[in-house]
Subunit: 188 residues, 2 copies
Amino acid sequence: MEELKQRILREGQVLPGGILKVDGFVNHQVDPALMMACGHAFAAAFAKVGATKIFTLEISGIAPALTTAIALNLPLVYARKTKPVTMPDLVLMTSAPSHTKNRMVDIMTSPEYLGRGERVLIIDDFLASGQTTRALIRLVQGAGSTVVGIGALIEKTFEGGRESLEDVGAPIVALAQITSLEGGIHLA
Amino acid sequence: MEELKQRILREGQVLPGGILKVDGFVNHQVDPALMMACGHAFAAAFAKVGATKIFTLEISGIAPALTTAIALNLPLVYARKTKPVTMPDLVLMTSAPSHTKNRMVDIMTSPEYLGRGERVLIIDDFLASGQTTRALIRLVQGAGSTVVGIGALIEKTFEGGRESLEDVGAPIVALAQITSLEGGIHLA
């Protein structure tokens, strides 16, 4: 998606450890017009997968997942990293690595909102190693539902996430693909 | 806002400790059409305050703040509760009570995205005691900017937040007002 790619090239910053900082328009500050355009791009890409629910992980997945949910008019569920008192006593939980916090975090979802027989479209900000997406897939499948698509604003193709998720059998769509962060930002 | 009120009456649950659970359409699961309608309602209510930026607190403030940002086409900044490695070394930080976690949490924002001279519209899911909003106001004012409006999806009028924020001099708009949670949900 050209608009996102141009923004990454113009405003993205490469930090030590292979981290791409996009805090100015995706993470800490969100550009609503860009994010809505990304939601429409995901909606078009996944128009035919028959999704019944959008699923993401708090925090930075919420913005792209919400605009996709708006574009497709489907409910959005976001997995939580801490258990609020409003969650029931029994939840589905797994763990996933946090790249920006350098530790494993628990992620969980309430069976009230992710039950059996849903066709789930996973939307997140980044697809890198695929381990966060894999954790979301465990929650979806553990709930008795099916992953019908995986969308990421930005894929780091050199971290192998796409290949690691092939067994899921769901289409994977990234709106911008970073092929390397060595000596600058290189896009596909 | 009638649509939100009806949804609260139909699906809201009162939990011990005066907590109103709206996880089915606001917090854990989001109804995108309802949330977009709330964003348009805030945009209409604050059309004349001359806001230049929308500000909220992760996590549950993001959805209503983003739809408001979409409706007003203004950038959204969300204050963070943990410091990701992408944040600069020097940030603005304060603390706020978390009602759903029963402890104080640090909240912070990068000076990169909340600087001087902005006219800031604060949008959050709940207005209860006003302490979270007060913490966001400290960040805005600490950055050298001005709060021009405060919006909440749901106000618990019996917790005194609105009165406690009167000195800010900004209009306060709630889309639904809960006057009591004793023996059920009572709306204004």
